[in-house]
């Protein structure tokens, strides 16, 4: 009731209203700040590597580290069992010198974490753009033109929808990651970062295209579009002037949630060693590296997992805030397996 009373007063443009509402949402703004901070820190990865004087992409088994004035080898002789193996050094908690310890190849985990974060964010962002572009194109075409086009596109989406995302992503990755793909216009090398970007971008298209199609279908029947058609406004004009602006609110709400889902998917593929390929890192590959060290040096796997969880968390809160600000009705599934 108080809302109704309040709405009597505020009647600005929908975007300005949404922005104002979002800027008042303290949780969302705090999460936005944290997300920006994460991005900046990850972008500073080369600076950290220089500062720590380490190359996070080359194994350095004979490196040493200065602890309390003592030179300690990064790979320690294992004390367990027969003492034959080597165990990488654990976290020194000293910024710039193996802060989180080393992995099995003696590389600084902190440096890899930052470089890995750069890749994880890049893949999540780029694949989100791909998903949104393709899904919007498909959803608009199917929803606006209807008929045979719609039937064919919808059936294809049905099939993709029933295909568990992870199985589809894994199938594509397994085939492509080792050999790359040559589509004539674009050639993607084996092990290229663009492979996971494309794969993740493609598998989530139905999840966005379906709701967009539904929305366009509803808009197509709305009075203002019918009136525009009746007045003889050309179709492309209606699409751009009337439909796209309405759909774009939904798309904006999807962006942070897609980023979160894509980041989780990328990390899962990388964890299964079919995402980002060595020597490149992502948060998923570092968790994979840490799997063998889980019981001796848990921080190798712990740190990237916390990084993923934190990033996904702030993105989800941001997504909730955006949804509340823009469109309290729309909903999207988030999370995967």
């Amino acid at each position: 009731m108080a809302d109704a009373v309040a709405s009597l007063r505020t009647s600005r443009g929908p975007w300005a209203t949404a922005l104002r509402k979002l800027s008042r949402d303290r949780a969302a703004m705090a999460c936005l700040a944290v997300f920006i901070l994460i991005v900046i820190i990850c972008l500073l990865a080369p600076a950290y590597a220089t500062f720590a004087n380490t190359d996070p992409f080359r194994s350095s088994l004979d490196a040493t580290v200065d602890i309390n004035g003592q030179q300690v080898p990064v790979m320690e002789q294992s004390t367990e069992g027969l003492g034959l193996g080597y165990t990488p050094i654990g976290p020194t908690w000293e910024f710039g010198s193996y802060f989180l310890g080393a992995d099995t190849q003696g590389r600084d985990v902190m440096a890899r974490l930052l470089y890995g974060g750069r890749n994880s964010l890049l893949i999540a962002g780029a694949s989100t753009i791909i998903t949104i572009l393709f899904a919007t194109a498909i959803g608009l075409t199917a929803g606006f033109f209807g008929g045979v086009t719609d039937t064919i596109l919808s059936r294809i989406l049905d099939i993709l929808w029933a295909f568990p995302v992870y199985l589809l992503a894994i199938s594509l990755s397994i085939v492509l990651i080792a050999h790359g793909i040559d589509l004539g216009i674009i050639t993607l090398e084996a092990g290229s970062l663009w492979l996971p970007i494309f794969i993740i971008g493609i598998v989530y298209i139905p999840y966005i295209a379906r709701p967009i199609r539904g929305q366009v279908l509803a808009l197509r029947q709305s009075e203002f579009v019918l009136a525009a058609i009746g007045l003889g406004v050309p179709e492309h004009r209606i699409l751009v002037r009337d439909i796209l602006p309405n759909v774009s609110t939904t798309l904006i709400v999807f962006v942070p949630l897609m980023l979160a889902i894509n980041m989780l998917t990328e990390s899962a593929l990388s964890f299964l060693s079919i995402g980002v390929q060595p020597p490149d890192a992502s948060w998923g590959t570092i968790i994979q590296d840490g799997q063998g060290l889980l019981y001796t040096r848990p921080w190798v796997a712990l740190a990237p997992g916390i990084a993923i969880a934190l990033t996904v968390l702030v993105l989800n809160v941001l997504g909730d805030g955006l949804r509340d600000a823009l469109d309290p009705r729309s909903k999207i599934r988030l999370g995967g397996d």
């Binding site: 009731m1 108080a2 009373v5 309040a6 009597l8 007063r9």
Partner: protein, 317 residues
């Protein structure tokens, strides 16, 4: 039977406190029909939701006194209030399409209310539901109790809602625009039904509407509300035949006359109701009033005994 004294309801909003109801007092006698008229936003629904104890917005503040048969309802324990609701006071809402839970049968929903207030078995409660549905003229009530809300037409659904409201023989029935969402022919039937029920159950009725025509047909006494205040009250004859407040007159002018020559254009009230955020200091109708003068900058009190109006113009035109 119902005595409301100086009721004030305000809401805390992000733009400050808003006074939605400002000093409203009225009485409802035994088996009397009180008509409450006003435009949307005039506070007619909110003040009666307060009587029901149904304002649960944490930002709301309710002051004043509401007495039902001498019992104070403002500040009553929620548990006690709940026992009154549905048994002593019942309410019918505007839209019968959405007023019932879609996933339960009509009979189940009526029996639920009876069982909430009386120690009675399910079968007996359902039997009562059948009788009630018969009483509100639903054909084939024995079958109708097994229907889901969406399987009934709007008029039938409103009848079912009324049957549910009457299930515990309430002393007071609040009807919030019960016919607005219905077809004209169905409207007349529902109005007949409410009158008949008043006769049979001896319930008092508060009838909220924005339609002076409905008032003419239903009410014993009338109360006209404008932006959270009562601007005029009196018997039906007084209000319809000798309206004192310019707002009441304007409302009457905006309904087409039943006899005589039809006017070329119906008179409408210029402007729109003021926002609750910046109510005029004096009479809140003044900005739209055709006969305003200097004194209207002050706030007029509701004066004049039984037929009272909050207006400085004392002479009825």
């Amino acid at each position: 039977m119902l005595e409301v004294r100086d009721l004030r309801i305000s809401f805390r909003t992000e733009h400050g406190r808003v006074q939605a109801i400002d000093g409203v007092s009225f009485d409802v006698g035994e088996s009397e029909i009180l008509g409450v008229v006003g435009e949307s936003g005039s506070g007619k629904t909110i003040s009666l939701l307060a009587v029901m104890g149904l304002i649960n917005d944490p930002n709301a503040r309710i002051e004043g006194s509401i007495k039902l048969r001498g019992r104070e309802l403002v500040g009553l324990e929620p548990r006690e209030m709940r026992k009154l609701r549905g048994r002593e006071i019942a309410m019918i809402f505007q839209d019968p399409m959405t007023a019932m839970t879609p996933v339960y049968t009509i009979g189940w929903q009526i029996a639920e209310q009876i069982m909430a207030h009386e120690k009675i078995g399910k079968a007996a409660a359902l039997a009562r539901a059948v009788d009630l549905l018969a009483e509100v003229n639903i054909p084939n009530p024995r079958e109708a109790i097994h229907r889901f809300p969406h399987q009934l037409s709007g008029g039938m659904r409103q009848r079912a809602v009324i049957a549910m409201a009457l299930s515990c023989n309430p002393a007071l029935l609040i009807a919030d625009e019960p016919t607005t969402a219905l077809d004209v022919t169905v409207q007349a039937q529902i109005l007949d039904l409410i009158r008949k029920l008043r006769r049979d159950h001896k319930s008092a009725v508060v009838f909220i509407t924005h339609d002076m025509g409905v008032i003419a047909e239903m009410a014993d006494r009338v109360m006209v509300m404008y932006s959270g205040r009562i601007v005029e009250r009196g018997t039906k004859a007084e209000i319809l035949l000798e309206p004192r407040h310019p707002y009441t007159r304007a409302l009457l002018d905006s309904i087409p006359p039943l006899e005589g020559e039809k006017p070329k254009r119906l008179r409408s009230i210029p402007g729109s109701p003021p926002s609750l955020f910046d109510l005029p200091k004096g009479c809140s109708f003044a900005p739209r009033c055709p006969s305003r003068f200097e004194r209207c900058a002050e706030r007029p009190a509701l004066e004049g005994g039984k037929h009272a109006a909050a207006c400085f113009l004392k002479v009825a035109s």
